[in-house]
Subunit: 205 residues, 2 copies
C-alpha cells in the first residue's frame, strides 16, 4: 500500500507522513518544484533525517506564472496557493504508478484545502484515493503530536529555508518587479523539522 505524499518538509506534512506510516502505508514523499529554485532540497534534507524516500515532481513554469498573475490580481496569495496545490495534486495523481495521494492539509487551514466536490473530482478523474491524515485534527491535537514527535527549530527570519510553494511564488513575483511583501503577510517566525525527538517513536509499520 504505497502512498505518494506531497511534502514541504514542514511540521504538518511531516506529521501527516508519520500518521500514514502508522496506518501501515509505505510512504514516498514528493516535493513540487517549478524549476526556478532548488529549495526542494530543504524538504529532501528533512525527508532524509526522518528516514523517508523522497522525490521531486517538476511542474511547468507556466503554472507558477499563472499563480503569480492570480496573486497580483488579488493582492493576496491565498487563491494562488490554492491554485498551485490543486495543480500539484492533479500532476501527482496523473502519474501512472500513483494509486494514493496524500498531503498535510488541516481542518483549520483556509488554503490550500479541497472541498468535498473537488476532493471527489480529483479521486474520480484520476482513479486515486486522496488521503488527508490531518483533516480531522484541530490545532491542539496537531500541536501535541508535533511536540511529541519532532525536533523543531524556530527562527526569527525572512530567510525561507523551506520547500513550500510560497518560496518560488515570491521569487517569480520579484522577477516580475513586484515586491512580495505587498502581497504576502509579513511573518516573523518560521519553523523547520530537524528530526525525530525519540528514535523509537518513529516505529514505522
Amino acid at each position: 500500500m504505497l502512498v505518494h505524499h506531497l511534502y514541504s518538509g514542514g511540521k504538518d506534512s511531516s506529521l501527516a507522513a508519520w500518521i500514514l506510516t502508522r496506518l501501515g502505508y509505505e510512504v514516498k514523499l514528493v516535493t513540487v518544484s517549478f524549476g526556478l529554485l532548488d529549495n526542494w532540497r530543504f524538504a529532501g534534507e528533512t525527508a532524509e533525517k526522518l528516514g523517508f524516500e523522497h522525490d521531486v515532481l517538476y511542474l511547468p513554469r507556466e503554472i507558477l506564472e499563472k499563480a503569480a498573475e492570480i496573486a497580483i490580481r488579488d493582492s493576496h496569495p491565498n487563491n494562488a496557493i490554492q491554485f498551485l496545490h490543486e495543480r500539484a495534486l492533479e500532476a501527482l495523481a496523473s502519474l501512472p504508478e500513483v494509486e494514493r495521494v496524500s498531503d498535510g492539509t488541516r481542518r483549520d487551514d483556509r488554503v490550500p484545502l479541497l472541498d468535498l466536490p473537488k476532493t471527489r473530482s480529483l479521486e474520480d478523474r484520476f482513479n486515486v484515493a486522496y488521503v488527508r491524515p490531518l483533516l480531522g485534527l484541530g490545532y491542539k491535537t496537531i500541536r501535541e503530536l508535533t511536540e511529541r514527535l519532532f525536533i523543531v527549530e524556530i527562527r526569527e527570519s525572512e530567510e525561507l529555508e523551506k520547500a513550500d510553494y510560497e518560496v518560488e511564488l515570491r521569487h517569480i513575483l520579484r522577477e516580475n518587479g513586484i515586491d512580495p511583501l505587498t502581497i504576502f503577510p509579513k511573518k516573523h517566525y518560521q519553523s523547520r523539522v530537524m528530526g525525530w525527538k525519540e528514535k523509537e517513536i518513529r516505529a514505522r509499520g
Copy 2:
C-alpha cells in the same frame, strides 16, 4: 493522552479507535444509551473482543423523544441522527475528566457530521480537542484499512444487533405507534465487527 471515543461497535468507529491507538493515544470507548434498550451491550462485546476499555454514557430520554419528533416531522431520520450525535458529543465533552473527544465520522458521511463552526464551538465551549481520525479518508481508504484489520460478519437481516442511535430511535418511534419503515430507508445488509484479523496488526502504542 487519553481520548474518550464515541463508539457504536461498527466498522467506522472501530477503525477510528484503532487509528487513535496508532497515534499514541490511550482510548476509552464510550457508547451512548437513552436507557430504553440495552443494545449498548453489542458495542461492549465488540470493544472487549478488540481489547478496549468500554463505558456507557446515559443521556436523558427527553433527548431521544425530541429526536423522534424531528424524525416524524421530516419523515426522514437524518436531522434526528445529527441532533442525537451533537447532544452525545456535548454530553461527553462536558464531563470534567474529558480533555479529548473523538468519533468515527467520515468525509463522505452526510450525517452525523459537524461542520467547521460547530466543531470549533464544541471545542471552545467545553475546552476539549475534537479528533476525527476518519475525516480525511475516503471510502476506498476506509475499505482497504477495514478489510486489512477486522473480521466482519455481514448478514441479511432486519435484526439490529447494533449500538448506534438508530436502534433506540426506531424503538421510541414504535412506542409512539409509528412504523420506523415509514421513516428509515430499508437496509438489507448489516455488518458487525467480530475481532482483529491478525493479532499483531493491533500493535497498540
